[in-house]
Each structure stands twice: as structure tokens, then as C-alpha cells.
């Protein structure tokens, strides 16, 4: 008897120790973004002020993309994310598969608040950005002119870094192989075109380093690990501003796209999530963000609040946008999973 009582006491103590939280069903609003310098800025401009103004507790999480991660979250029955910043093809795929809640635009100020490209039934655009060719001006004497130079290790010795995954990597390979931006997806749509892209990548494979997190390219450049990398344009400018780096950006044939906020399916914090999205898409907040890290805003009127010096670093500025390749979401919607598998097998070999 004594033993059982002791055992019960131990269990009771355990419950006390774990506190009420273990039993509580509700959890705090969890917002997931892309880490590093970008999320640091988001914390200052979105997360902290949101908590102060609304008294809603907000937890942060970092991820590095992949619709499979979202699928696993929802389908394992163990989803712990509420609001996630997703890439455009993740938005389309996830929306199609019902991974996200539909956005009720009336609760976030109406569709007219946004530029048309930012409006989707499952997500609200948050930033416009580009994948650009980045290099360290202190280490490269001559500026690379485009993706062809990226693949030219004889003229520009040193390692290269690319984002791990087929999206952007295959486009860059074809651009480097001389395909015009307008033709890229036509070529990639054929098996021969995909083979051509992988053949081009084969020529660089020995010199390639893969990055996954958005914070990595700037670190790889800073340490001299690689001579050139593709990177989110904002992170490169941010490294120049915050860490006194002297990185250069080659805008030629940059890959242009946008990210969106989504609310995960059956999130218990759906309304809080929408409140957050409304908060984070206010024009003046987006303008503030752009000044700290140059990504284009999606709310109408936000661009007016951005000084001209910052505008020059934005991917939306006409001279930067001129020969950009717009990443084709529809193509990736149909082909991402297939090419993902081929890419992963190619890398694993």
C-alpha cells in the first residue's frame, strides 16, 4: 500500500512539475519564417510590435521550405505551425492539396489593398524578391556578368554555391547554357531540356556547395568558402549594411518571385493568424522592412514610403527587373515533385 501511495505521490509531483501547460489544449500563435537576417528584421518590425499591440503571444520558428514539410506537418496529425511564409509554388501546391485555410480577405482589409499578384485564395503576398548572382568584390577582381560566368571556373576560379533543390538551380543551368529567359520553361518542359540542365550542372558538380538556409549564402561568401553563389537579393544587401561586407550583385537574368503568408489547415489560432497577416501587410510596416532588407512590398502604397536610395536595391526597380526571369509557378506546380526526386537522387550519387 505504502508503495502504491508513494508511486501516486510521485506521479502527482510529476504533474505539478510539468505545470498546467502540459494539459492545456491551446497553444500560442506560431509564425514560421526563413531565419537569419531576414527574420531578425521581421522580429523587429512585425513580431515584437504585434505582441506589444495585441497582447497575443507569438512564437517564432524557422524553416527552409519544401511543400513536403507542410504535408508531413498536416498529415502526421502533429501540426504545430499557424502562419507560414511560403514560396509561390508551395502556395499553389498546398492550396490545391488543402494544406492551408482559405483567406477571408474581408478580415484583413480587402483584396484591393494589395497588388494583384499578391492575392491568392490561400495566401497573401508578403515580399517580392529575386535570386541573384552574388560575389565578394574584395575577392573577385572582375565582376561576373551573368550565369555563364558562374559556370566558368577557369576564368573565375573557386567554388560555387547554389540552393539545394531543382527550383532555381535548373533555370540557372539553362540560362548559363545560353537559353533566353523567355525560353527557359519551354526547354525545361521537355525531357531533353531537363537532361540538358543536369548535363550543364554535371560540369560544375565538383565545385558545387549546396545551401539550404537563406542565411548561408552570405556566410559562405564572407568566409571565402565560395567565390560566387545565388542568393536572396535582400540578404546580400543586408550583409553589406549590417556586417560591413563588400558584396556585389549581378542582376542579369535574376530569378524573380514572391513569398506569401498562409494559415495552416485547422490551425487553432486561425483568427490570430489573420490578425497577424493584417498587421504585417500594413503599407508603412512593409516600407520599414524594405529599408532594413530590400525586398519589394506587396501592399499598395507601401512603395511610396521607400526612399530612392533603397529603391535601387529592390528587385522591382525597372533596371533590375528588365531581363529578369519570372519563376513559373504553374510549371513547378506540375513538375516540382518529379524534378525534386530526380534532383535528390542526382545529389545523393
Amino acid at each position: 500500500m505504502m508503495l502504491r501511495r508513494g508511486f501516486c505521490a510521485a506521479l502527482a509531483l510529476g504533474t505539478v512539475l510539468l505545470g498546467g501547460q502540459a494539459m492545456a489544449q491551446g497553444r500560442d500563435l506560431t509564425v514560421v519564417s526563413w531565419g537569419g537576417a531576414y527574420q531578425d528584421v521581421q522580429r523587429d518590425i512585425f513580431f515584437r510590435p504585434f505582441q506589444q499591440e495585441t497582447n497575443i503571444r507569438l512564437l517564432e520558428e524557422t524553416w527552409d521550405g519544401g511543400v513536403g514539410v507542410l504535408r508531413a506537418k498536416v498529415q502526421s496529425g502533429a501540426n504545430n505551425w499557424d502562419v507560414v511564409q511560403v514560396e509561390s509554388e508551395e502556395l499553389l501546391l498546398g492550396c490545391d492539396e488543402g494544406l492551408f485555410e482559405r483567406i477571408d480577405y474581408s478580415t484583413i482589409g480587402g483584396k484591393d489593398r494589395f497588388i494583384p499578384a499578391a492575392v491568392n485564395e490561400c495566401g497573401v503576398g508578403t515580399i517580392l524578391y529575386s535570386f541573384v548572382l552574388a560575389y565578394d568584390k574584395d575577392r573577385l577582381k572582375e565582376a561576373p556578368k551573368g550565369w555563364a560566368d558562374f559556370f566558368d571556373t577557369r576564368k573565375f576560379p573557386g567554388k560555387r554555391a547554389l540552393r539545394r533543390g531543382p527550383k532555381t538551380t535548373l533555370e540557372i543551368a539553362l540560362l548559363a547554357d545560353g537559353v533566353k529567359p523567355g525560353e527557359v520553361y519551354k526547354v525545361l518542359g521537355t525531357n531533353a531540356g531537363v537532361d540538358r540542365a543536369f548535363r550543364k550542372l554535371d560540369t560544375l558538380k565538383a565545385d558545387l556547395v549546396w545551401w539550404e538556409r537563406g542565411s548561408q549564402p552570405a556566410q559562405l561568401l564572407a568566409s571565402g568558402e565560395v567565390a560566387m553563389t545565388d542568393a536572396y537579393n535582400g540578404r546580400i544587401t543586408a550583409a553589406n549594411q549590417n556586417d560591413n561586407r563588400n558584396f556585389g550583385i549581378t542582376w542579369t537574368n535574376n530569378l524573380f518571385t514572391l513569398d506569401s503568408w498562409v494559415v495552416m489547415k485547422d490551425s487553432p489560432n486561425r483568427q490570430k493568424g489573420l490578425d497577424f497577416i493584417r498587421f504585417a501587410t500594413q503599407p508603412q510596416r512593409q516600407a520599414q522592412l524594405a529599408q532594413r532588407i530590400p525586398y519589394g512590398p506587396t501592399a499598395k502604397g507601401a512603395a511610396d514610403g521607400i526612399p530612392p536610395a533603397v529603391q535601387a536595391n529592390l528587385p522591382t526597380t525597372p533596371e533590375n527587373h528588365e531581363d529578369a526571369l519570372r519563376i513559373d509557378d504553374q510549371f513547378w506546380l506540375d513538375n516540382l515533385d518529379k524534378l525534386n526526386q530526380r534532383f535528390n537522387n542526382w545529389v545523393a550519387k
Binding site: R71, K265, D337
Partner: protein
């Protein structure tokens, strides 16, 4: 008899707890390796329509119509409930017939709205592949309820249309390589630990008593230090602008920083560092229990020190060597965090791919099949050990 009952009752809480939180969950997970849960719920009518199909040419209009109806319904369910069932069925079918991963969701999207004309005509218009028997055969092979598909896949094998087993096409055949890599890294880590650990254990066992606590502390302190801390230490040491490179350059041994991180060497370094105490402590325990009068007697009878070691001391310490090697090798096979942080793309072992399939592609079946492979490797090692040495002689420090 009452004593036995009481003993069993004392053991019961632990047993029930481990059954509930350990044995059953793992069993249920591993069963997924032979399950076929993905395709039947999405394509029930199609599977029924394919029942009497001869497999020679594409099936008749009925199967096409059934497919359209199935996909419409599944897609509507997905969009309402977030089940992602079409995507999962596509992933499963794609493992059998590459191309399905895109073909099935794309077809589902395009037939969602009502259309004019026959189903066959519409599907052939969307993708000519539907006119060939291959995708239909793949659908039929996934009818379930159980199959050896994933078990074969992790051995780079697959069944052909006739059902006989052959090797998988080269672009899918990656798993044997990963298995050998895992075993090889485990063997290397074990051998290096043994080469460093045995002399160290010998030194501690034969050192003057005053020195022993200090020597042991040198082993126990890292043993108790968290794995993540030690992995972090290696990351910081081996960074391009880290401690080691800075030191090398300051000593003018190198001019450019060396790429020390994200390679096989870094993984092995980290693993040996973490696993070495598991080798040293059992060997030390068996050396301490050794009757030192035996080697001394051999020496006094004129045997050379080397011969004494080889014929007497070493055999007597073998149980420790066996236990240490077992502990190190088994743990090495299961390493996930250290290779993920210190290794490159070509240094990842089976655990990494288990995590990959579970969290990045929602392919629980493949994750389970790879886990089964990993557990089989562990079981073989443990079994061989039990046969050769037996667990009664194993000492844990």
C-alpha cells in the same frame, strides 16, 4: 509462487509503459513498410475496373471513366480536409513508374471541371502516357493491402510487370550505396575507437593509483558532456574562419584556410570523439577485473612482453573489447545529428534518409522500410555478439 507473482507485479508498470510508449508505436511504424495505404482509398473504382484487365494494352473506357471519377472525388476531399491523398498516391505510384508524381495530380486538376466527350479521349489529350499499359500496371501493383514494394526498394530491387524481382533502374538505385556507406562509417569509427581506446584503457588500468582518478576524469567528463555541445565544438573548431584554421595560418603552416568542415573526415572526427568513452570504459572495466598474476607468471617464465600480451592479457580483456565495439558500432549506425551538422551531402547515413522521407516527402512507408533495414543491421550485430560472447559477461561502466 507468491514471490514470483509479486515480482511480476513489480515489473508490470515498466513493461506496460514500454509497451505503450515504445514497443507498440515502433511496431505500428515498422508495419508501414509493408503497407499499401496510399493508392486504394484514392482510386477504388479504378482498381475495381482494372480487375480483369489483361495488361497488354491500355484498358477500356470503363477504367478511364472510373479514374476520372476517383480523381474528382479525391481532389475534392483533399481540398476540403487537407489530406493530400492524391499527392501521396502519386508519390507512391511514382516510385514504381517515374512520371506519376506529376501525372496524377496534373490529371486530377485538369479533370476536376466537367468536360465534353469521353474520359479516354480527354485523358489521352492531357498526357499520351495514359494510352500505354505502364501507368495502369503500376496502379494495379499498388492495390495492396500489403506488398513488398518498399522493402525491395530499399535494397534497390523492384518487381517487373510479370512480378519477378530485378534490379531497380540506376537513377533510383541509391539505397545499397547508402547502406554500405552507413556500415563503412560505423566500421571505421569502431576501428579508430578501438585503436585509440585500447591503449588508453590499458594506461588507466596500469597507472599508479594516484593518477587513476585524474585519467578517468579525462574520459568521464567528455562522456557526460552533451553530444550537441561536442558537435558544436567541432563546428566552431573546423569552421573556415574557425579556431583550427586561424591557428594554422598564424603558425604559417597554410596560407589559405582549409575546408575542414562538411566532409567525411569531420564526421568521423566528431563520431570518434563522441563514441571513444564507450570503448574505453568497458575495456578498462575488463582490464581492471583481470588477474594480473597471470601475465606476471608468464613473464617470469620467460615469455616476451609482446607474447604475454598477445597470448594472455589480450584474450582475457576480449569481453571488454567486444562490449565496447558493440556499443560503439550500434550507436554509430544510428548517428543522425552529428553527420547532419558536420557532414556534406555524401556523408549522410541511413538515419538521415529516414528523417528525409518522414519530414520532407511524407513517405512514411519508405521511412519505415529504411528503419527496418537499420534495425536489421543492429539486430544482426547484437545477435552475432550474443552468439560469440554472450551478454552475461558484458559489463557496463
Amino acid at each position: 509462487m507468491r514471490g514470483r507473482l509479486a515480482a511480476a507485479a513489480l515489473v508490470a508498470p515498466l513493461l506496460l509503459f514500454l509497451l505503450a510508449v515504445f514497443v507498440l508505436p515502433i511496431g505500428a511504424f515498422l508495419l508501414r513498410a509493408v503497407g499499401e495505404p496510399d493508392v486504394p482509398p484514392v482510386l477504388p473504382r479504378t482498381l475495381a475496373a482494372l480487375d480483369g484487365w489483361d495488361g497488354q494494352a491500355a484498358p477500356g473506357e470503363a477504367a478511364f471513366a472510373a479514374l476520372v471519377e476517383d480523381l474528382r472525388e479525391a481532389r475534392a476531399r483533399d481540398r476540403a480536409a487537407g489530406e493530400g491523398a492524391v499527392a501521396r498516391a502519386a508519390a507512391r505510384l511514382n516510385n514504381d513508374w517515374p512520371g506519376f508524381r506529376s501525372l496524377l495530380p496534373m490529371t486530377a486538376r485538369r479533370v476536376a471541371a466537367p468536360f465534353e466527350g469521353g474520359a479516354r479521349e480527354k485523358l489521352l489529350d492531357l498526357a499520351e502516357e495514359w494510352g500505354t499499359p505502364a501507368p495502369w500496371a503500376a496502379i494495379r501493383r499498388a492495390a495492396g493491402p500489403v506488398s513488398d514494394f518498399q522493402l525491395l526498394a530499399v535494397l534497390d530491387l523492384k518487381r517487373d510487370a510479370a512480378g519477378s524481382i530485378g534490379t531497380a533502374p540506376p537513377e533510383q538505385a541509391i539505397f545499397r550505396g547508402i547502406l554500405w556507406r552507413t556500415l563503412w562509417i560505423g566500421v571505421l569509427a569502431t576501428l579508430i575507437c578501438l585503436a585509440i581506446g585500447y591503449p588508453l584503457a590499458w594506461l588507466i588500468a596500469t597507472a599508479p593509483p594516484r593518477a587513476v582518478p585524474w585519467l578517468l576524469a579525462g574520459v568521464l567528463l567528455p562522456f557526460w558532456t552533451s553530444l550537441i555541445v561536442r558537435t558544436a565544438a567541432w563546428t566552431v573548431l573546423l569552421q573556415r574562419e574557425g579556431v583550427v584554421n586561424a591557428a594554422l595560418q598564424a603558425l604559417q603552416l597554410t596560407t589559405d584556410p582549409l575546408p575542414l568542415l562538411f566532409n567525411r573526415g569531420a564526421v568521423l572526427l566528431g563520431m570518434v570523439h563522441i563514441l571513444l568513452p564507450f570503448m574505453v570504459l568497458p575495456i578498462y572495466a575488463s582490464l581492471r577485473a583481470l588477474d594480473w598474476r597471470l601475465p606476471r607468471a608468464a613473464l617470469s617464465l620467460g615469455a616476451s612482453p609482446w607474447r604475454t600480451f598477445w597470448r594472455i592479457s589480450l584474450p582475457l580483456s576480449l569481453p571488454g573489447v567486444g562490449a565496447g565495439s558493440l556499443l560503439v558500432f550500434i550507436q554509430a549506425l544510428g548517428f543522425y545529428v552529428t553527420p547532419a551538422l558536420l557532414g556534406g551531402a555524401n556523408d549522410q547515413m541511413i538515419p538521415y534518409f529516414v528523417a528525409f522521407y518522414a519530414t520532407r516527402t511524407v513517405n512514411w512507408g519508405m521511412a519505415a522500410a529504411l528503419s527496418l533495414l537499420l534495425l536489421a543491421a543492429v539486430a544482426v550485430v547484437v545477435g552475432v555478439y550474443a552468439r560469440l560472447v554472450g551478454f552475461s559477461r558484458m559489463r557496463t561502466a
